[in-house]
Symmetry: C2
């Protein structure tokens, strides 16, 4: 397809597409002559991903470039490519290891992983931003006087594991590995608001079932 | 307890406590004489809630006052008090009903509730910010070319319902209705980052189980 069609099918203006091309966020089309290039379905897919990261995820262009670099690096295995792409997305700041609540949260989080038998998560815990985010979030609960530990977190973690199984099953429905990795990154950006809204709606439903509307 | 002890036990400075008292976010203590007041456990609990809303939730003081008003209004039933308190928290903007993706998202969301048998959620759907958030999030997916509908959303919704059952079971472990409603609001602010982090960590765990670290 030509630039005009790529723009129409993606809903992204030709000026923005040219900007993404200049910034290296979109690979160049096949040049037909000095002024015309031909684009493929692959360009359309990549364009949607870039737009989701920039417009929905509000991710800076330099970070988008970094994430795309990990997605495209097929010298890495799938777990590492997925991890590297997701780990480049914006994360919570480093926890303050001198803070007593952070130390308690580390203990509770380690106890949780042990209880769940999440051996892989334990293995990468010193590297993983997801692990750090969990420590920061648990420390915030403790600081406010809510002593949530491994015991209270475990049933939630089991449900989130079942959610992750769904995510990867959906990802594997895509035919090629590049599409799968792109889908995983998109899911991390676009699916979170869906889950948050479903969770709130489910709370309303369950509350009405238990207590009615009186 | 006196102001100094309330400050020490909550980790909130006496100046900030006095500010919350002036703003009506904290009920006055029992005045012992012109300069000394006595505070109860109930003040400590309310102080933690206010601090969570302002410092963690970044919720404006006027909104905090509104949420507390709903929590304290015992002329309302529990579902309505819970709803009113949660609905006053910051929400996504109204969906644009003229947008074709929003209309599709409405259809898919209605079909989803029907499929799930969430009759209560259907009944309040025109009022509920959670419903509107879901429509906005689903419309964003469609706009980016991901045609997620009732069928794809249903298994996620079932897991979020099980999460909501846990939430309400935990809430009911608190002895009084005011404590329960406060816990629900705190959960909406503090538990979301925990769930998000658990979900990411579960994705890493499941990915490593399926594909190893190669």
């Amino acid at each position: 397809m030509r630039l005009a069609e790529l723009s129409e099918r993606s809903g992204v203006s030709t000026a923005t597409i040219k900007y993404y091309l200049r910034e290296g966020l979109l690979p160049p089309g096949r040049q037909l002559n000095a002024t015309t290039a031909e684009y493929e379905e692959e360009h359309l897919r990549r364009l949607r991903l870039v737009r989701a990261m920039i417009q929905v995820g509000r991710i800076p262009v330099a970070t988008v470039r970094e994430v795309l670099g990990h997605i495209d690096d097929d010298s890495l295995g799938r777990t590492i490519r997925l991890g590297a792409a997701l780990w480049a997305l914006p994360q919570v700041p480093e926890p303050d290891e001198d803070d007593e609540y952070v130390r308690t949260a580390h203990r509770e989080t380690t106890a949780l992983l042990d209880r769940l038998g999440w051996r892989n998560a334990e293995q990468v815990s010193t590297l993983s931003p997801a692990y750090r985010s969990l420590v920061v979030a648990v420390a915030a609960l403790h600081r406010l006087g809510y002593e949530w530990g491994a015991e209270q977190l475990a049933p939630y973690a089991e449900l989130m594991h079942r959610t992750a199984v769904l995510d990867l099953d959906n990802m594997e429905a895509y035919p090629s590995e590049p599409e799968q990795v792109e889908f995983a990154v998109l899911g991390a950006i676009l699916n979170e608001p869906v889950l948050r809204a479903l969770h709130r709606l489910a709370q309303e439903e369950e509350s009405a079932r238990r207590y009615g509307f009186e």
